[in-house]
């Protein structure tokens, strides 16, 4: 790796040439006001909803996982969706979403581990689906952002290729801000799995700075927010 040795040598020499200053300490975050669990949940939930709507996302609020399934089926019906693709959910109760959609006559593409030879075919099928359904691992209240950690049973293309994206989120997965999210996920998980943060539908402002939704990613983003009110 001679080119590397050379470059590193240059960098080192450059650093020695300009002896570095000590880095400033990073300021600490402001203290959090103590709050009850329910109050905190309500605050994070409502902030998340407002922020998501501000970037063009739509929120479907439900009280439980089974209600979420009904809501998704209803959305598929309303849209006239013919096919849907779903990634494995984190909450076991959501496994029934596929069955419910199939009962309605929607073709459901299941994403499990894929053999090497089927990759292109599988992607093409996902690209043709009307609806992509995933569950978010976390969300950020401050910016209306969803975080999805990918693996073999939860491919990234489900939230990317179909024109309508449905993301299921449990309210207790919402954290206040980005810094908290990074700390919650942690370096180990980030180095193991691909992660994507999604803030609203795909958009552009490249033509006269006018915002247009739905460039290469989904045009519509629905978040099915599971928010149990009785506790």
């Amino acid at each position: 790796m001679s080119e590397f040795q050379k470059l590193l040598g240059d960098v080192k020499a450059a650093l020695e040439h300009a002896a570095g200053k000590r880095p400033h300490p990073v300021p600490e975050a402001a203290a959090v006001v103590p709050m009850t669990h329910m109050a905190r949940r309500a605050e994070l939930g409502s902030k998340f909803v407002r922020e998501l709507e501000a970037v063009g996302g739509q929120v479907l609020e439900v009280g439980s996982a089974s209600e979420a399934i009904e809501k998704i089926a209803e959305l598929a019906r309303r849209m006239g969706a013919r096919s849907a693709v779903s990634a494995e959910a984190l909450t076991a109760d959501l496994a029934r979403v596929d069955a419910e959609l199939q009962r309605q006559g929607v073709e459901v593409i299941c994403t499990g581990p894929v053999a090497k030879d089927d990759l292109a075919q599988m992607r093409a099928r996902i690209a043709r689906a009307d609806l992509g359904i995933v569950e978010a691992d976390y969300a950020i209240a401050a910016s209306g952002t969803l975080a999805a950690i990918a693996n073999a049973t939860r491919p990234r293309s489900v939230s990317l290729l179909p024109p309508t994206s449905v993301i299921i989120l449990h309210i207790d997965r919402i954290v206040p801000d980005l810094a908290t999210l990074m700390r919650t996920i942690g370096p180990e998980k980030v180095s193991e799995n691909p992660l994507v943060l999604i803030t609203g539908p795909s958009r552009t402002a490249d033509i006269e700075k006018r915002i247009v939704l739905g460039v290469h990613g989904p045009k519509e983003l629905y978040v099915v927010l599971i928010w149990p009110k009785d506790e």
Binding site: F4, L8, A13, V114, A179, L197, G214, P218
Partner: protein, 475 residues
Amino acid sequence: MAPISVQGFFKASRAAVADVELRRKLENANTRQRDHAARAITEFPSYQREKDAARAVKEEAIGRLDQLLLELRRKLQARGVKVFFAADAAEARDYIVKVARHAGAKLVVKGKSMTTEEIELNEALEHANIEVLETDLGEYIVQLRGEKPSHIITPAIHLSKEDIGELFQNKLQVPYTSEPAALTAIARERLRASFLRAEMGVTGVNFAIAETGTLVLVENEGNGRMTATMPETFVAVMGLEKVIPRLDDLSHFLEILARTATGQKLTTYTSFINGPRRPGELDGTREMHVVILDNGRSRMLADPVLRETLYCLRCGACLNVCPVYDRIGGHAYGSTYPGPIGSILSPELFGKSASHLPFASTLCGACKEVCPVKIDIPRILLHLRAKASADSEGIRWPWAAERARKGARRFARVARHPWAARMLGRMAGLILRPFAHDGYLRRMPPPFNAWTKGRDFPLPHSKPKATDARHPPGT
């Protein structure tokens, strides 16, 4: 893209200033961009704190860049990523062309990347008979026009929706429309097929986290996600300054980057890319390469004044507030990187042919004010001006300096006698008044036309208010 000569710059900027339509488009877009950013920043009380933190992280990261690059490489290699260090643009190009050939690529899709513009990758791939397709909407538009981006984050800022409508009509054989949504839909359809067909994808990198060996890519359209996950081979190109130490550092940058660049809280997509796909995975590429580019950056590192240029996040905020950029647009600079940041980057990246760019500034300081990592651009501009003037190979105007000195000496002689200065000022004001329009002289005879060729001359007041520098008012 190496910048044009100083004469070329004068010619291009004169033409741009006279282009009323271009001025209208730039003003329109820049005003919107400034308003969006200003609102996003005011609404975010922690902005200042995050800015300070980001600056501190950059100081640390650049201060131990050698260790961080080693750590990044080690972590990436452990996951099967091939890491290549390119000393200059040619090495980077050759490597990427080699990878493309090896991948049997007929079509390469690209995410938005200023670094690949810097190394002129498209030209190199095309030269090797490989088709290259820009997929960011703005980049796609300028590529169709056979142009270069005129803004770091809004490549087609110099075009109106009507221009783009005509372009699509001519190049894509679609019915004319100037509706941004319809134009976007046309591009989406065209590019979707290419993403699934391309054998190779190339993107830039916004941040590389050494601790985890992760590349972070921010974008709004989804083309970056497509480019990094769909083709079988993926190449990420990054300047060596993009590395940051820890995952914990990232939020400071993400909290400020989108706000200053576009006025968003976060960009639509932030992708964390680690390596090629693992067994059983549907997405991700079979092969992944990271090209880490020097191309003059280690020289900036060695220069204590230039060093902070490497803190730049490429947010484009300095372009949006620059009075020079506002009037001449991006293309007139002739460099990959236009505007204030371009004027301090280009001389080291492209050498002598860019040594005039630091002079293309009024030193008003708006860029420094708006910079999210507080780069002292005016100071660096002065530093580079001094360097260019001292460099016997660079631009030299010894006669100009001599004349300026003589002029200043003459002025000093007069100014020592306040009554004489007042008298001369009053006389000049009276004599010149008949020639002035709205208080300005548009034309003067030689040698004073050296001034009026480029700008109007303010009419001296017939009743000048002279103050005594030795006893300023209020003392």
